[in-house]
């Protein structure tokens, strides 16, 4: 009987229907009985039929809770059904399972309309709450910043320097390489297109204006959002999960001052430096491509750059950089502080922080374009 298949047989004793169970009923063996039961074989097609007054489980070999539950469910038995089982372990098991089994309640069907309305309602309420929280957060940051201006020791220079090392120095390589490549691609495309009009020397202007006004700083912002904004969210979020942020609050340390402000300061200072580096790398890339496709020397490229491209094409890009840095750092830190409880929440909010900061960077870039249009620069 040691490894006999689990079986359930219908019998009659003294005019009463009795179910006889035998074989091994454990969590690993019951899937075999299910297949039999579904086909209605051997069990006599009584799956979840109900109305069995007695179960005889005295011939069962090995038994565990899942097996006992399966016997009872297959028999349609409830907590009150009489079960005959081997004395000792088996009887105890049946008692335990019968005391704890409950009939699963079927899900109440919900109309799709109510479902959709509920979801829309929740998402609007969420968005409103999000906006309020964001305003509150920015307010807190500004208040802390103003307080720090009057008490400069609140600026936590050590933390700012350490963050700058992370977000500025360590990002130089990747920003440089990507901007250089974009410069090369841009110059190559410009030369190809403008050659049709015999105006390929204007590639210099095309590259310089595109890189200086938009691409240098935008590309840098996107890289920084992906590498530093996400890091901010993950760092602060993990601290939130470990209750470190709460510990700080109880010690009278303001998390905005200790965690958020140094990061915002560091990134606001680092972004112009990185963007400048990106623009230079982009221009070098352009010069490199022009020297290959255009018979220009690198020196000629920069001479033309000096003579024909206005310096404001560079300034407009640089003006945007600190604003982007501030936005990325603020969103990264804000989402980090929104983390609750679980590791999953850290992951979700990190994604959200990257998507949101890139979104806002592009929105603000558009706003700047309009401002520069009216300012005529």
């Amino acid at each position: 009987m040691a490894d006999a298949e689990p079986t359930l047989r219908e019998a009659e004793r003294a005019g009463q229907p009795v179910l006889e169970a035998s074989g091994v009923w454990t969590v690993f063996s019951i899937r075999h009985v299910q297949r039999l039961a579904i086909r209605g074989e051997r069990t006599g097609g009584i799956r979840r039929a109900g109305g069995v007054s007695e179960i005889d489980a005295s011939k069962v070999g090995r038994l565990d809770t899942a097996g006992a539950l399966e016997i009872l469910t297959l028999a349609g038995a409830g907590p009150d059904t009489k079960v005959t089982a081997q004395e000792g372990a088996h009887a105890d098991l049946f008692k335990l399972v019968q005391a704890n089994m409950r009939t699963p309640e079927p899900d109440r069907p919900v109309s799709w309309l109510a479902d959709a309305l509920e979801r829309i309602g929740y998402s609007w309420a969420d968005a409103a709450l999000h906006a309020v929280n964001l305003c509150e957060f920015f307010g807190e940051v500004v208040v802390t910043l103003v307080r720090a201006i009057f008490q400069p020791r609140r600026f936590r220079i050590n933390a700012i320097v350490r963050q700058m090392f992370e977000v500025w120095l360590r990002a130089l390589t990747i920003v440089g390489i990507l901007c250089f490549l974009i410069g090369v691609v841009l110059a190559y495309q410009s030369v190809q297109q403008l050659r049709a009009f015999g105006a390929e020397t204007f590639s210099v202007e095309a590259v310089a204006i595109a890189i200086g006004r938009e691409l240098g700083v935008l590309l840098t912002a996107i890289i920084v959002a992906g590498r530093s904004g996400s890091a901010f969210t993950a760092q602060i979020g993990t601290m939130q999960v470990n209750l470190e942020v709460d510990a700080m609050r109880t010690m009278g340390l303001n998390p905005i001052e200790w965690l958020v402000l140094p990061r915002i300061m560091a990134l606001t200072l680092s972004m112009p430096l990185l963007a400048f580096w990106g623009v230079i790398a982009g221009l070098l890339g352009g010069a490199f491509a022009c020297s290959i496709y255009l018979d220009f020397t690198v020196a000629q490229f920069f001479e033309r750059l000096r003579d024909t491209v206005g310096i404001w094409n560079f300034y407009t890009g640089m003006i945007k950089a600190p604003v982007f840095g501030f936005i990325i750092a603020a969103i990264g830190c804000y989402e980090g502080l929104q983390v609750t409880g679980s590791a999953e929440s850290v992951g979700r909010l990190t994604t959200k922080s990257v998507v949101e900061s890139i979104f806002f960077v592009i929105v603000i870039d558009a706003i700047f374009s309009i401002i520069f249009l009216f300012a005529d620069v």
Partner: protein
């Protein structure tokens, strides 16, 4: 190495398996550890450690902070690799076990980690269903029924089944983790500080829950604990980690055992209070 070669406890003092008094008496040994040595870098945690756990008993594992209780537990369940010695669980030597045989063994034990270690992205019911779905291959309906049964057995309310671990209180998380450990109806249950972080009332209830489940499911339980109340109320035998080795005995035997740490632990104010309480409870 040399310093640890000498035996810190005189070997003649202990019976087979680190026992003070031999209780084997033909009992089935579920966990048999022989000559175990664990080491991290230069730091030797266990040396020449012998330890037996019998079928159907609740064995408590105690020791001072840093004495290697959790390390011993982790070594037994295969999360740490010992430097030397053998560990035999349910008759299988775990050393160099290939993955299939190890899996077979792992299905026969359940582990409750200190903070539950529930999967944070899944609900309690889904946590319980993970091992069931992976190893038992049940259909969805049965999975739900079994999960609901385990939730009920561990004394959780039905609505807790649909919550994620972060929404539960500490005590409920422990119960949920116990339900997951019991998912495959193991023969052997490892508990790492099951009552740590619970208030005395919840801790008492949790102890009773473990005891009653142990009886009705016929489990063998090895629990690491700091809680002297648990030791007194539910453990059949107590293993004490002393000088890198294990000394096992019943409460009465350990009370008579001559070792400064054991004396301080069991004869200290907390130990006395817990024993008095238990005696009063038994007297009723």
């Amino acid at each position: 190495m040399g310093e640890y070669e000498k035996e810190p406890l005189s070997p003649g003092q202990l019976q087979e398996g680190g026992q003070i008094v031999d209780h084997r008496d033909g009992q089935d040994v579920v966990i048999r550890v022989r000559g175990l040595r664990t080491q991290f870098g230069d730091q030797v945690v266990h040396d020449h450690l012998d330890f037996d756990v019998f079928r159907g008993e609740v064995c408590g594992l105690v020791g001072g902070s840093g004495s290697g209780k959790s390390v011993l537990l982790r070594t037994i369940i295969g999360l740490n690799h010992p430097r030397a010695g053998s560990i035999e669980i349910l008759g299988t030597n775990t050393r160099g076990l290939h993955s299939n045989a190890l899996l077979k063994l792992q299905r026969r034990w359940g582990v409750l980690f200190q903070d539950g270690a529930l999967f944070s992205s899944l609900t309690v019911a889904e946590n319980i269903m993970v091992p069931l779905r992976e190893h038992a291959g049940l259909d969805e309906e049965t999975l739900w029924e079994v999960a609901a049964l385990k939730v009920a057995i561990t004394g959780l309310s039905p609505d807790a089944a649909c919550k994620t671990p972060s929404e539960l209180s500490g005590g409920m998380r422990k119960r949920a983790a116990l339900a997951r450990a019991l998912a495959l109806d193991p023969e052997l249950l490892f508990l790492d500080e099951p009552t740590a972080g619970l208030d005395p009332i919840s801790a008492g209830h949790f102890d009773q829950l473990i005891r009653s489940l142990q009886k009705s499911l016929g489990l063998t339980v090895l629990m690491v604990t700091h809680d002297i109340d648990s030791l007194v109320s539910i453990c059949d035998r107590i293993a004490v980690l002393l000088d890198k080795r294990v000394v096992v005995g019943t409460m009465d035997e350990l009370l008579k055992y001559d070792h400064p740490w054991v004396k301080e632990y069991f004869h200290g104010p907390r130990g006395r209070a817990a024993r008095k309480e238990q005696m009063a409870a038994d007297g009723k």
